[in-house]
Amino acid sequence: MTTSADIENMMARITLRDRDALALLYDATSAKLFGVCLRVLNNRSEAEDVLHDVYIRVWQKADTYAVTGHSPMTWLITVTRNMSIDRLRKRRPETGSDDAMALVADDGPGPEAAAIASSERARIEACMGELESDRADAVRAAYLEGETYKDLAARFDVPLNTIRTWLRRSLMKLKDCLTR
């Protein structure tokens, strides 16, 4: 089982251009990060292109993650998600909703995710549970699928301003709950 300390160590070695460490990191994290890419892009070939670029970014920028104070896994997921959404936005520039990407409700975690069941996870799930369910869905869709306000407004059939107000309030409630 790969621990956070193991990944930290791999990242330090990658800073020193240790290709074996990159291979180890790839083996330890690629399936999870590919899941993140795939969730945003919903297209294997695009997701693989992005995942490739993620590891190149890691190779070049492994030394910068410590500045953020993130755990290595949080940093990797953040980089992966950002690069995936950049790709998504390029694919459909300002075109608003694309219903081919309809959200599959994700209240039930998969067996692998359930096994992880970290305390962090339990905390955010509990706090998401305090939001009204459609608002929690909106937060998830924005984070996991990279939906825009336009997408969300169309999905929930509410005006753009309303969805923005919803989401901002929900995020602040989420923050209050998580910092309680």
Binding site: T15, L16, A31, H70, E120, R121, I124, L144
Partner: protein, 228 residues
């Protein structure tokens, strides 16, 4: 708007930025502020950390077998060497070049023209902050001067300094650090051009330094140089 409303608004903006919900104009404006505003940066990092747990529900999916090789091949390409001339641009000017020439001709003797000011600096700090070192580069003499500000070397171990030049495929040892105070290390001419844009790192090694020519022990700290 009151200060607390400003803060509240920035926090919400940071969340929207992390979620990629800002439109192009808002995003550009936010990024311009982000580059200058450390507090805003901290708000962004906090949202990144907070929301990343949402990814725990994402199921892992194996990418195709060929992708691993593609990644490793991409990083395995030979480094693009910068032309040697770039080094001369790296120097501060003619007087410095004259000083360097004297150095080359007479070893340790410097001409009065030699410019021994530090041009680039880097702070090397370990993750837990227990080890702090400050490094400076004197371009004229190709020297890295590194001072131990806090922290000690474990009994029976030494610290070794490495350079990972931009695009390089392996770190190069620059030498061992004194266990206390200041160490001056002369960087070989052929790798000196890579110092400014590369990364330097300190690893913990057995006495005498790494036996393999590559770092073997834990990495204490790594950093890049900035202009003084």
């Amino acid at each position: 708007m009151s200060e607390s409303e400003d803060e509240h608004d920035d926090d919400a903006l940071a969340a929207e930025y992390v979620l990629h919900l800002l439109d192009d104009d808002e995003r550009r404006a936010f990024e311009a502020r982000l580059a200058m505003d450390r507090e805003l940066q901290v708000l962004v990092w906090s949202w990144e950390a907070r929301l990343s747990s949402l990814s725990d529900t994402v199921e892992a999916v194996e990418p195709s077998k060929t992708l691993r090789n593609r990644v490793l091949q991409s990083v395995g390409e030979p480094p693009a060497r910068r032309p040697a001339q770039a080094f001369w641009a790296w120097l501060a000017g003619g007087a410095v070049a004259a000083g360097l020439l004297l150095f080359v001709l007479f070893g340790e003797t410097f001409g009065p023209e030699a410019n021994l000011t530090v041009a680039f600096q880097a702070e090397l700090a370990s993750e837990d902050g227990s080890q702090v070192m400050v490094a400076g580069v004197i371009p004229a003499t190709h020297e890295i001067v590194i001072e131990r500000v806090s922290g000690t070397v474990p009994e029976g171990r030494v610290h070794e300094l490495w350079l990972i030049a931009e695009g390089a495929d392996a770190p190069v040892s620059l030498g061992l650090l004194e266990n206390q105070g200041i160490t001056r290390i002369r960087v070989p001419d052929d790798i000196a051009p890579g110092v400014r844009t590369g990364t330097i790192a300190v690893s913990e090694e057995p006495p005498g330094g790494s036996p393999s020519g590559a770092p073997t022990g834990p990495i204490v700290a790594a950093a890049q140089f900035n202009d003084v």
